[in-house]
Symmetry: none
Subunit: 140 residues, 4 copies
């Protein structure tokens, strides 16, 4: 779990950390139940202030990706949001729309856009599989 940050970027450092942790979880580099590196550890590794990491971890907690036990550390909890289905689908549609529009303005064709997504989904396939197995067929 190695976090790298670009302090010159316009996207806030804490948001970069949030994004990287979410990617790591989705990519299976961090598994549910596993501890995240401690605040200070991450702060040193990423060469940022511990407060900044704290803010990122707080944000991850409100998003339901991790859970923090005071005095012990932060644990990956994620196995899908527990939001209502209707909210999830609406949100998904919103993100899809945004992605499609960005693709359009990049000059890509619908086919190119769809292929790019397939490629991204394939890269995450193992995580989807193991999660969905845990959810839908717990009888194994």
């Amino acid at each position: 779990m190695l976090i790298k940050v670009d302090p010159a970027s316009s996207v806030p450092v804490y948001a970069q950390i949030v994004s990287q942790v979410k990617h790591a979880v989705a990519a299976g580099l961090l598994r549910p139940g596993e501890y995240l590196p401690s605040l200070r550890e991450t702060a040193i590794a990423a060469r940022v202030n511990p407060n900044t990491v704290a803010k990122a971890y707080r944000e991850l907690e409100t998003q339901g990706v991790i859970r923090t036990d005071h005095g012990r550390g932060s644990i990956v909890t994620d196995s899908g949001s527990d939001a209502t289905t209707s909210y999830r689908l609406a949100e998904l549609r919103r993100l899809a729309d945004q992605f499609a529009v960005e693709g359009y303005h990049l000059g890509a064709s619908p086919a190119e856009i769809a292929i790019a997504l397939q490629s991204a989904l394939n890269a995450l396939k193992p995580q989807f599989d193991s999660r969905d197995a845990g959810k839908e067929t717990p009888h194994e």
Copy 2:
């Protein structure tokens, strides 16, 4: 071309305007060559400070979506980015990856994610078609 803005959102007002104009262009509500509503008009309609709209228009100009003729107004120029192909594909891949990860954390399945995208692309199909016709068959 009606612009609505949520001042309490964490995404800056000017960025909301940028995003809405880009959506309008991608959706064909604003066509290349057409004038945007004037800065002042937009400011009143959206109940925001004219400076904020000015910033949004400036940003759109930087992104190559519109062109501003001093004293006359702003015209839609966009018909796809003129960035290099390799940059476009890399950027597209980055966006796709991000979309896939967000979908994962929302608890959606790969199929649901792909379907959401198809649905969004279909909604924009007319724009893609007319643009691609203009691009690929200039022999007309």
Copy 3:
């Protein structure tokens, strides 16, 4: 709207501010639509660091008591939580239970406890009335 803070208290300063703003709203000293004093103003008045006030305001925002417009300030929004009824009742019951237990351990009788509550509710009566009027009989 005067905020006072006891830095020696075991309850965090930011939580003291949250509590005082909520009391002020419930008491009608701050009315929906009104601006809160700015971060810096409050920080100076309460003799605390602006960051501490910022944390309090952020917390009030997540609780739905205020709404913050970037660059403009924070506005009182509260006219009752928009949580689901079942959640509200469960939460209310939890708080009531806690209050009753505390009363027991203070050595108070059930009658004393009920009277103390009536007294507190009476003090807030005008606020309840105006809110409920706005909600239930908007035909006036």
Copy 4:
């Protein structure tokens, strides 16, 4: 006497234990003179560090709810605070006020709030009765 703890809660684990013991006493699950489960027992049952339980018991002793006999265990002593009447009433009023304000922000009506309290008091009625009998009619 079964203690359950949520390590991810923002209220400290030791405070959760304190609160639960107080509830148990108020609810009559633990009666004056009775022994609490041993420190170690509780630690194992609640899956927490024995030091944490020790801190909770120390706090309960300070509050006058239990008494610890070295080497023998902890006994419930509580049958109401021995604070002065004026302090008790002031404290009660403070708690009532806080409860009323929280109820207001939850969107509840005064009637709903009062009813929630009655319901909570009724659940504790047997304890109040037996305690008050012991206090007010020691002539038996």
